[in-house]
Amino acid sequence: MNLGMKSKILCYAALLPMAPAMVHAQSASAPPDFTGVWGIYRGGPDSDPKFRPPAPTPLVLKPEYDKPYQARRAEEAAAAKRGEQLANAGAECIPYGVPTMMSVAIYPVEFIQTPKQVTIISEAFSEVRRVYLDRPQAKMEDVAPGFYGRSVGHWEGDTLVVDTVGIKPTVTLRGLPHSPQMRVTERIRMLSADILHDQITIEDPVVLEKPYTYTTAYKRMASDYEMVEFVCDNNREYVDEKGIVRLKLHNQ
């Protein structure tokens, strides 16, 4: 870190003494650079176990939320047995938001890192989120609910810790309900030059009995990989009056 940057950081720290990002940014070593395109990685049987994503923690909802949640899961399973899919946001081409967008099928994500901001772009739906490193988090009640909420981050050694609040109740991790008090904490770290882990923890004192944590692992894509655009301009799926996803054929 050069002297100019250090003095800038100290200046910010003086202005925002409570900002956690500033405290950690004063550490001597420069943070790693996540910039690049990363593909979803789950590891094969002969892969190095330390690079595979660890198993998620148990998902435990409070009883009043668990009952309808399980009922919906059962309805989805029954529909699948009939060869039908119940309506969901994805089938209607609505973007996934945080945290789902961090792991959509095999679509890669691109990280663009600067000293003040990390920008993350998912190839699926071209979703964009911005993680501010130079300012504190707002109060939950001051953040307009949206797909990406408001994310701030700070470095803890080689780990980027990202705090996100303000996710819209309709933006869910595959139907997992949440309240306005949901907080998503990510710990993003490179395990090697080519492997990146994003450990995602969802806390919600209203809906969850305890925090739910899962990890998405990524492997760096070839350096010449170019992100592909994704604009949903030909969605032939539609939801019928019974809430079932159908496919509109051109010969219909």
Binding site: G43, A77, L173, F230, R236
Partner: protein, 152 residues
């Protein structure tokens, strides 16, 4: 083959092994692995059946969230029946060698598809044999690479 490719192979094999994507997603979210979601499940297609369509392409739609091949297939009496065949997204298809101009209207192709359970004239692509003889699949990196450009 790197591990990403292995993962992609596994996903495709899972679909082919009659495990629908939604089951894969469900297993992913609360099973041993991290949540991985897909655009939609494939429950509307009969992944246990395959049909071969030989016909003339009326349009190739390189679009999101899915690409489509519209094709007219003559029956034994010569009357054409129109089929709509769903594929992956351009992003997914590019990983198996497809390009936006891999096929054009008017070209003859052979498609192996998983038909719709409803009996409608639609399906999900398994593999396509292009006019130049290349066989491209609907999953990542299943097909051979495109031929090297030749000088005219």
């Amino acid at each position: 083959m790197d591990s990403i490719e292995r993962l992609q192979m596994k996903i495709l094999q899972a679909v082919r092994a009659k495990v629908c994507c939604c089951a894969l997603m469900a297993a992913g979210i609360f099973g041993a692995a991290s949540p991985v979601l897909a655009h939609h499940s494939f429950t509307m297609f009969d992944m246990t059946k395959q049909l071969t369509l030989v016909g003339t392409v009326s349009s190739f739609e390189w679009t999101n969230p899915h690409s489509y091949i519209e094709i007219d297939v003559p029956d034994e009496k010569g009357a054409a029946k129109h089929w709509s065949i769903e594929m992956g997204s351009p992003s997914i298809l590019m990983q198996s060698g497809w390009k936006f101009n891999s096929i054009k209207a008017g070209e003859k192709v052979t498609l192996i598809i998983n038909p719709m359970k409803s009996g409608q004239a639609g399906g999900f692509l398994s593999t396509a044999t292009l006019p130049d003889g290349r066989v491209l699949s609907n999953g990542p990196r299943q097909g051979p690479p495109p031929p090297a450009p030749t000088q005219k």
